[in-house]
């Protein structure tokens, strides 16, 4: 599973965790404490570790409903823009409402195959 670090998507870099890491690395590069190649290595490690951790450590489930505004399937990546979404968490808490949510989703098959 965790064979090569290049086998993982970098889409999580666009989440809060990835953005904050990228910002921190940028600051260090700007201060000339690290060079960009090392920063890229950190990010590829991050890609692998966040994918593994989400897969192994997280058990939560959720369901959501809404009206699909836009869908797109390009290069094995689904992009949905959903309006009036309500998310339900598995703990039976109150639903989370959002007027629109963008979903970017890569194929789960590719990581499992490799």
């Amino acid at each position: 599973m965790a064979s090569g670090s290049t086998n993982f998507y970098d889409l999580y870099r666009h989440g809060s965790l990835g953005v904050s890491l990228t910002d921190a690395l940028d600051e260090l590069i700007g201060d000339e404490r690290i060079d960009p190649q090392l920063a890229m290595k950190v990010l590829t490690q991050f890609d692998r570790i966040i994918a593994e951790t989400l897969q192994e450590k997280v058990k939560a489930r959720l369901t959501f409903k809404g009206s699909l505004d836009t869908y797109r399937f390009c290069d094995e990546v689904w992009t949905f823009l959903i309006r009036n979404v309500s998310f339900k968490l598995d703990n039976g808490g109150q639903a989370i409402q959002a007027d629109k949510v963008k979903i970017v989703s890569c194929s789960a098959k590719r990581t499992e195959d490799k």
Binding site: L11, Y12, L17, L38, L54, I82, N91, A98
Partner: protein, 396 residues
Amino acid sequence: MSNSAVGPVYDTIISEVINAVRVDFEENGIEDGVLEILKTKWQSKLSQMKVAQFPWEPKPEPQPAPAAANNGPATTAAPTAAPATANYSQPTMSPQGAAQTLSLPGALLPSTNGVALKQDPGIVNTEPAIKQEPGTGMPPIHPAYNPANAAPGTAAQRAAQALQSQYGQRAAASINAIHSGMASQMNGNAQVQQSTRPGQAPQHMSPQQQYRQGVAAVVQQRMQQVSHAGAPNGLPTAQFDGPNDAAEDASLPQGSGSGHPPFMNREMIDQHFHAQLAARAKQMEGGGLMLPLKDATEHPSLAASRQGEGPAQLDGGDDGIKSEEDEDAINSDLDDTDEDKDDDEDDDENMGHMMLCMYDKVQRVKNKWKCILKDGVLTVNGKEYVFHKATGEYEW
């Protein structure tokens, strides 16, 4: 609770990443302190996002602090939501603002000058409510002007209107000559009978009346030629009744006296020609390159509405229909730009609510979609959630 799970999960990820790259840092000859700085920076930046409660942050008080932590992201989320709604309302507001500024010149124009009156129908076309004005709104502005004359709204009527507003009482003679010329063409001798009726003009002696009638016949012929040349299609059938003649009787003595009506009228004919030419020049200029596209597109419809008015045009209803069409055309353009802006905003705004995940299955039956997603990070309303598996159903 997946939001409370975010903190430990992210902490695990940070620690693992830091440990995993430690070797790389050593290989590059970077001291350990830099790695610690990286970790601290990462954690502090993540804390600034306030997407969840993280273990490295000072633990809040058990009861009130979670509420404060909940309020914190909510208040930070509110400003980000506010510009979004402002952006939304901005494009929807702007067409209204444009429509208001469009209708404003229409409301102001009748009081400016006579030549501009020619454009009045074109501008008023955009606003059906003001469209009634030539019939109902004009008489208060020009008290001597006969409301019945304004109703047909033909080119000749407009020319008379223009003369009226430009020269006031002095033009009354030629205006009435235009009207009586049109009437006499339809009625033949009816005009003579009407004007010699005693009820119509009680204050005039009949010899004077007849003299003026003889002069008026010459003038009428001349004015017919004028109206033929100036407005070839503007010959309505509306003038069957007497108010026009009454207006002539009332206004002729005041305006030009009984002295030399032919001379005055010739002058008025020249003025009339000049007004027509000026108006046409203005129209051609406007239909060409000199005006903004918005105004230029109005002129074809203006010309069409003028040509469309045949002899059967007794009232202003036709203009109302055309104005609705114009309005549709303008609105549809604006609606299109609205939608475009809407789509752009979707792309700009997506950082606020985003789900990053893997998909197991994406199925669609007609417009119903069903997705099975896994290993995702969801950011909604300033909060972050992680999930192992998510199922979504939505309709397109």
